[in-house]
Structure formats: C-alpha cells, structure tokens
C-alpha cells in the first residue's frame, strides 16, 4: 500500500510538472524558442502572489486573477520587445538573452525578498486530504493542481485544433514564411504564444507557492523539471506533456523513497534513459529543424 501511495502522489505531482512543461513546449512548438527564464518566472509568479497577499490581502486563489493576466501581458511584452529581435539569428542569441534574464530575475528577487524561503498561505486546504482506500491518502491541493493541469491542456488542445487563431499558431509552427503569405503576422503570433506560456507559468508558480516553500534561486531546478517533462513526453505533444509530467513525478517520488537524496537524481536518470532508448520522447509531434 505504501508504494501505491507513493505512486499516487507522484502522478499528482506530475500535474504540476505538466503545467511547467506545457508553457515550455508551446513556445518551442510555435517558434523553436527555448526560454531559459522559464523556471525563474515560475518562482517570480509565486512572489507576485505573495505581494498580492501582503498588500491587497488577496488569497493565493484570488491572486491568480491578478498574476495570470499580468504574466500574459509580460509574455507579450517580453516577446515583442526583446525576444522577437533574437529569433532567426541562430541558436545562441535567444539562449544568451533568456539566460541573462534568468540571472537578472533571480538577483532582483534576491534583492527584493532576500534569500529566505517564503510560502503562500491558502488556509486549511493546504493540508486537507482524502482517503481513497485505506492506506492511500491523497492531498486535496495536489488533486486541484492535477485537475487544473488537465483543464489547461484540454483548453489548449481545443484552442489549437478548433479556433482560427489556433490554426494560425499551427500554421506558423509548420512554416512561418508561408503563414505570412497567408496574412498571418508571425511576430504577433509569437507574442501571443509567449503570453500564453507565461500565463501557464503563473498558474504553475502560484500552485507551487501554495504547495511548498520557495526561494529566489529555485528557478533553474524548475526549468530543468519543465525540460524533463517535455523530453519524456516528446516535443510538441500536449498529452505527451501530461504523461511526461506524471512519469517524472512518479520517478522522483520513487527515488526519494529509496534515498531522500535521490529525488532529483531519479528524475534526471529516467529522462536520460528515455533519451537513450526513445530520443524523440513518447509522443513526439514537432519536428526540430535545429
């Protein structure tokens, strides 16, 4: 029963990773951009919710109404003001710019909030749990996180397959030049894609903050979890991202059970093993043009 419990917790943790991975996967799918600030922005969203609680008295759930739109706008501004200039000039410029931003965000958080760990207070729901069968108890919060991830993935799937704008996203992903000939402004699409990516980041960040404590230097680890989710699931596949998150969460939990120091290591090793035996991930869709 203990193992069933551990695997159940791992599956639910996978929901959080799927949220991280979806944002990374979306912008890679649309514009082949790898955003190295992804993890730091997850942490920054948690800090923004902290501020909303401190100065506006908003609960973490209500702060989502503020943090998510702000991050959506931030994404559009970031892409159109900065990152669009770096696209189409090779591999290095977007990496240097987003890595530079990552360093900047980390140190600004450090200056503003010190290196101490913080947490978001969502009240009794944080520790509430449901006993599914005797011996298997799951937290309400992880269930909410998992359900949020599934709803976001369903919504994104519907958006990409059923709406005109979603079709423009897919067209730009396939071939930006031809899409432009059809009247699609690819720079605008890129801005919207980054906005959506950061909106998911905001949800993931606030849920992270409610779930556990965070500090300014937690970003890189979050980026790596997002990356591993995408690698396991396969580039460009939304349901692969959910599967990737679940596999990562389960392997980390099993690793931690064997030895508390193996939480991260187990996730890394499963990712590398997948890379060795199934390099395109479990459900790859997007072709990486290099």
């Amino acid at each position: 029963m203990q193992w069933v419990n551990i695997i159940a917790q791992g599956i639910l943790l996978g929901g959080l990773y799927a949220l991280y991975g979806t944002g990374l996967s979306l912008i890679f799918g649309v514009m082949r951009l790898v955003n190295l600030t992804h993890g730091d922005l997850i942490v920054a969203a948690a800090y923004l919710a902290l501020l909303a609680g401190r100065f506006l008295g908003l609960s973490p759930w209500l702060s989502l109404l503020l943090v998510v739109p702000l991050f959506f706008l931030l994404g559009i501004l970031l892409q159109r003001g900065l990152l669009n200039r770096a696209l189409g000039r090779g591999v290095l410029p977007p990496l240097i710019i987003t890595f530079g931003l990552s360093v900047i965000v980390q140190n600004i958080l450090q200056l503003a909030f010190t290196a101490d760990t913080q947490g978001l207070d969502a009240g009794p729901i944080e520790v509430a749990s449901i006993t599914v069968v005797p011996g298997v108890t799951i937290g309400v919060l992880p269930v909410i996180t998992f359900v949020a991830a599934v709803i976001i993935l369903l919504g994104l799937h519907w958006f990409l397959t059923r709406t005109t704008l979603g079709r423009a996203f897919r067209a730009t992903s396939d071939d930006p030049t031809t899409a432009e000939l059809m009247g699609i402004n690819s720079r605008q699409i890129y801005g919207l894609a980054m906005g959506m990516s950061l909106a998911f980041v905001a949800v993931g960040g606030v849920l992270l903050g409610v779930r556990t404590t965070f500090s300014p230097t937690d970003g890189p680890a979050r980026l790596i979890f997002a990356f591993e989710t995408v690698i396991i699931g396969g580039l460009g596949s939304l349901w692969g991202t959910l599967a990737g998150g679940i596999i990562l969460g389960v392997s980390q939990n099993i690793g931690a059970q064997l030895n508390p120091a193996w939480f991260q290591l187990a996730g890394h090793l499963v990712t590398l093993a997948l890379l060795a035996f199934r390099p395109s991930g479990l459900f790859a869709r997007t072709r990486d043009g290099g």
């Binding site: 770096a86 591999v91 710019i97 990552s102 360093v103």
Partner: protein, 342 residues
C-alpha cells in the same frame, strides 16, 4: 530620339577594408616573446601577480573551450561545469587517495573528462539547439548529485580538501601551479588555432555555414562534432584540475555550478564568438569588470546579465568583431578567404 540617359553611377562606398593578418613569422616571434616573459615571471614578479595571472588564465582557457563548441561547432552548452567538477575531483582522488603527483593528477583530470565525454555525447547529441544546452546542464547535474551522494568517500556536499598540497613548500607549489597555468593558457589558444587551421576547422566552417551542404560534400558531421566535444571536455577538465590545484578545496555545489558556463558564455559573447581573439578580449573585460563590481553584490550580476543581453542585440560580433571591422586586423588568422581578384 534622344539617347538613353543612363543614371550617373555614384561611386560605391568602399567595402570593408581587406583584413591584414599578422604574418606567421611575426606571430611566432611575438608569441615566443610573450611566453618567455610569462614563464620567467616567478623570477622577477610577485606572488600576487602570479595568482592574478593564474586566475585570468582559468577564465581565458574555459572561454576558449566554450567558444570552440559554440562559436565554431554551433553546440551551445550549459554543462561545461561537468568537466570542471570531474577534473577537480579526479585531482583530489588521484593526489590524495592514490598519492599521485598533484600536477600530473590535474592533467589526468582532463583525460577522465574526455573519457566521460564520450557516453555524454551519445546522449546529448540526440538533442539540438536550446535543448542541447539544457540537456548538457542536466548531465552535469547528474554528476553533481552522484558525487554529492557519495557521503563517505567523497564526503558528499561537504566536499574535500587537497591535503597533500601542504607537503610542498608554498612558494614552490605556487610556482609550479603558475607554470602549469601558463602552459594551459598558451595550450588552449594554440589548440583552437591549429584545430581551426586543420581539416577539422575546414569541416567545422562548412558545417557552420550549411550543415546539409557540408554533409553532401562528405564532411563527417557527427565525427567532427564528437571530436570537438571531447577535445573541449579534455581541456576544460584540465582547467578544472588547475582550478582546484589553486583553490585546494572542492565542493560539488561550487565545482558543478552552472555559473561556470554562464561566465564562459559571457566572456565569449562580450569578446566575439567564433574568433581566437574574442575570448582573450572578453576575458580581459570580464576580469576588469568583476574586479570593479565585486562590491555591488547582486547588482553586479544583474549588470552582467544586462551587458550580455545588450551585446547580443547590438553587437553580436562582440568587441573583437567591432575592432576587426574598424581596423581590418587579425592576430590569429583561421578564416579561409578567396585569393584577391586580378
């Protein structure tokens, strides 16, 4: 019917000045003089000067190797700290546990890094572009976590000390460390220079310009990239040995910190990607900036980030690129140009 009036052609603005290179003999003479001056420093310089030069060479050589990967072979890695850490730990294990000469152990750190680089490449080469960068970072994290989990032998996160260093008189140790550093600094530049002037360099240039065209002309892309990856791991591993020969104390968190790769990238971006001179200029600028800004704490790191972003957007060719296009001058000619038209 009036004759057709051709528009008067305006004189064409002169193109970029033809690049003048230092002659092969000039380069040899000047390098020999510089190396002689550097090698003789222990005879006339102070111990502080030696320490500063060792530290400078560490960053210079690291940046040369990062540039070899990113600037010439198009492989942007954020996992070069893997080789620093493996080099450093190899030094400790060989010198302290197996009583080997510590300078030899530092160099063997590179050999271990090169050996481990082979299976690493097998995994990392399945990723491209930005995912290659993060993938190499994850692999470096695996090494960090594995070494941290050896709590008895390698003392886990607490780290280990190069205790045998105390057996050698300090001035002598500093002198040998210094000479090894000069050798590594000169070696890293010579390595990139000769590699780029060889067939490998020609292949790399072809890959950089067009991978598919290079492949169709018979350039063995994977083999060349693998060679460069392993050479870069070897030299970075040797530098890792040097770093901990100098620092005497190693922890997994510091040795496998992604900050190393960040410094390498910063130096190369500031100096100029894909040139031998770029990392030299970049390392000088980085060294001076770091010295001036060290008292500003987090602000200095924020400024480094801003500088890297602005340089990438405004002057992607780096400081050396700016100097080169203005003065039409190069010290280490590794480009191949068409002979002048008659």
């Amino acid at each position: 019917m009036s004759p057709i009036k051709w528009p008067r052609l305006k004189p064409v603005a002169p193109g970029p000045r033809p690049t003048r290179s230092v002659s092969a003999r000039g380069l040899a003479v000047w390098s020999a003089l510089l190396v002689a001056a550097l090698l003789s420093l222990p005879l006339w310089g102070t111990s502080d000067q030696m320490r500063t030069i060792v530290e400078f060479i560490i960053f210079l050589a690291l940046a040369q190797m990062w540039n070899l990967l990113a600037g010439y072979a198009g492989m942007v890695s954020f996992g070069q700290q893997a080789w620093i850490g493996l080099g450093g730990y190899t030094l400790i294990v060989l010198a302290v546990d197996l009583h080997m000469n510590m300078f030899l152990a530092a160099v063997l750190g590179g050999v271990v890094a090169a050996i481990v680089a082979l299976p690493t490449a097998a995994l990392a080469f399945r990723l491209r572009g930005g995912y290659f960068a993060v993938g190499t970072w994850v692999i470096a994290e695996v090494f960090r976590l594995l070494i941290s989990s050896s709590t008895t032998w390698l003392q886990g996160g607490f780290g280990r000390t190069l205790t045998v260093a105390a057996a050698m008189p300090r001035p002598l140790r500093e002198q040998y460390t210094y000479w090894l550093a000069v050798l590594i600094g000169v070696g890293s530049i010579a390595l990139v220079y000769y590699l780029m002037r060889s067939r490998v360099g020609l292949g790399l240039t072809a890959i950089r310009d067009s991978e598919s065209a290079a492949m169709s002309l018979g350039v063995k892309i994977t083999r060349i990239k693998l060679l460069v990856f392993i050479v870069s791991a070897f030299a970075t591993g040797v530098v890792g040995g040097l770093i901990y020969l100098n620092a005497l104390r190693i922890t997994p968190a510091a040795a496998f910190s992604v900050q190393w790769s960040a410094y390498m990238a910063f130096i190369v971006v500031i100096g100029g990607l894909g040139t031998v001179e770029g990392p030299i200029i970049g390392a000088i600028v980085f060294f001076i900036l770091r010295d001036y800004l060290s008292s500003f704490g987090p602000w200095s790191i924020i400024l480094f980030g801003v500088i890297a972003i602005v340089m990438t957007l405004v002057a992607p060719e780096g400081l050396w690129g700016i100097l080169q296009s203005r003065f039409g001058f190069e010290i280490f000619p590794v480009r191949r140009r068409l002979p002048p038209q008659q």
